[in-house]
Symmetry: C2
């Protein structure tokens, strides 16, 4: 998104300076590696905008922006080990490049680094930042655990799925905004509205991500097309399809999702044709729009700079429209 460019540039410069300051060692090489892969920098942007919304300079929130991005990337490093995912943003995952042990340990260091990065804020800002990061971190772990548990379960309700993605994805978006707003000096009520805005657009964003995997353009997504189908991931699309399926379709879906054939072509085609016949893409779109709308209503309620609010509205639209 063009209007985010100056924020992301400022963030990348800050990132570079902090990464340079880390010792040359096998512990921090993987940290530099993943932090330099071209992420979308959504969380940093949210942190910086969350601060600017209340009259602070967006640069005041650079440590918040970096802390949430490092934290996010720590979860990617560890999740990729757990999910056995070899590719991340079109490049080798950390555990493939550096081995599992180094990936576990560097991930640990990244998590602790997130706290370290915040240390120069004054006490009255530092304390609430640490508390938001901590609460969010525990939520993320709970979300990842649910995600793993769902793999072992034949049926997962759409409600449970939405709670899982809220924890695994959305609350860190909410936290990024909230932490930025704390640096900017926002009151409790505004902090909370911003958090809710981030949370709801996060859910919309994840539903969109599920759709990207199935209907997206291969190259831009940077991972294997239909990876979720190949890996029997219980996404919204799959769960909605199961809900709408007739007996035949249901047994086809359950059977395909009970194993992983070495050549997944037939599986992908059959599942896609069921998805299409049940128009689950349309349902997903509707749900995504509903969450987007809910999120925006919270942003609307915030007492903040109107230009920045417009930018955040645009960012929300951008997040759920990219690359389809």
């Amino acid at each position: 998104m063009q209007s985010l460019k100056p924020y992301i540039e400022s963030f990348n410069n800050f990132l570079k300076s902090i990464m340079k300051g880390l010792p040359e060692s096998t512990l921090y090489d993987p940290v530099r590696y993943i932090m330099n892969t071209p992420g979308k920098r959504i969380r940093p942007s949210l942190g910086m905008l969350g601060c600017e919304l209340f009259g602070g300079s967006s640069d005041d929130a650079l440590p918040v922006a970096l802390a949430v991005e490092v934290f996010h990337n720590f979860t990617l490093v560890h999740d990729d080990i757990m999910d056995d995912a070899d590719i991340r943003r079109g490049k080798e995952s950390v555990h493939v490049k550096y081995g599992n042990s180094n990936a576990i340990l560097s991930g640990d260091a990244m998590m602790i680094l997130s706290y370290d990065i915040l240390k120069n804020y004054q006490d009255k800002v530092f304390t609430p930042l640490v508390k938001v990061l901590t609460e969010t971190g525990l939520g993320l772990c709970e979300g990842q655990q649910s995600d793993m548990n769902f793999e072992e379960m034949e049926y997962v309700s759409i409600e449970d799925y939405l709670i899982m993605i809220e924890k695994k994805t959305s609350i860190l978006l909410g936290a990024s905004l909230k932490m930025g707003s704390i640096v900017g000096g926002a009151g409790q009520e505004d902090q909370e509205h911003l958090y809710q805005f981030g949370k709801y657009i996060g859910i919309a964003f994840q539903i969109h991500d599920d759709m990207l995997d199935v209907f997206g353009d291969d190259q831009k997504v940077g991972k294997i097309r239909c990876g979720d189908i190949i890996n029997n991931k219980k996404t919204y699309l799959y769960l909605k399809a199961l809900e709408l399926a007739d007996a035949d379709q249901k047994s086809t879906l359950l059977s395909y999702y009970s194993h992983a054939p070495s050549d997944p072509t037939e599986k992908i085609n059959k599942v896609l044709s069921i998805f299409k016949s049940l128009v689950v893409e349309e349902y997903a779109n509707q749900l995504k729009e509903a969450y987007l709308h809910l999120g925006k209503s919270h942003l609307q309620a915030v007492n903040g700079n109107e230009n920045v609010k417009t930018l955040l509205m645009d960012l929300a639209d951008y997040l759920i429209a990219r690359d389809l």
Copy 2:
């Protein structure tokens, strides 16, 4: 140690109440499992005594005691995955019992929990506690990384080994005392002396641990006798032996430490006989005593309750004399 009993009892009650408060879930079951294995509770004791030393009630430091113990156990959970260690305190390691993914994730949650446990302290205490925990945590990761790197190296200097164990083991003992002292209201200088006391007895403690592995009583150690020799661990004993060895002994040691035979009996016997002929146990003992002495001189310099100081002196002696 008999005189620590009331502290440990109080700690265990607090631990129990906090563990009960965690949700019943696959994320927190491994946390309860490892936190309930019978650890020595050295770090909690240090935290509580560090507080009492300055006139605070030792119970005021219970959250510190729990935070450092949870943090310590998080490192054990992850280290056991990296080191492929199946047994911990005589029981299955977390990753053996719950699988690698759950062990990675529950370890992550434990690290974040350590921060969460501190949240009820007032800002002016909370802030320095978080900073000590964070700095220490990064040091622990660096120590574990060095330890793993040493596995790939043929020669490691004793100096580098001592830096490694300082980071991997000792600084958390120092941090436990320091964090307790912060709760107790200690001044900067006393905090620093206490930290140094903990650091030096930690180094002595680790040298003692190296000796326990080789010369200890199997049942009490709770892990396989001579596991360090079997796993080619470059402990102080091994590095000192290499330093003192003649050409023949050196090549024997290097050759035995270059692989891991399925039946290690001969290897153990040969290595032990070299250790004995070079009296490395004596050298280790001397070094251990030197660090103990250095640590105690820092404790002596602290302006605190003399009875508690005596208890800490006794604890230091106990730590490097147990179970040999």
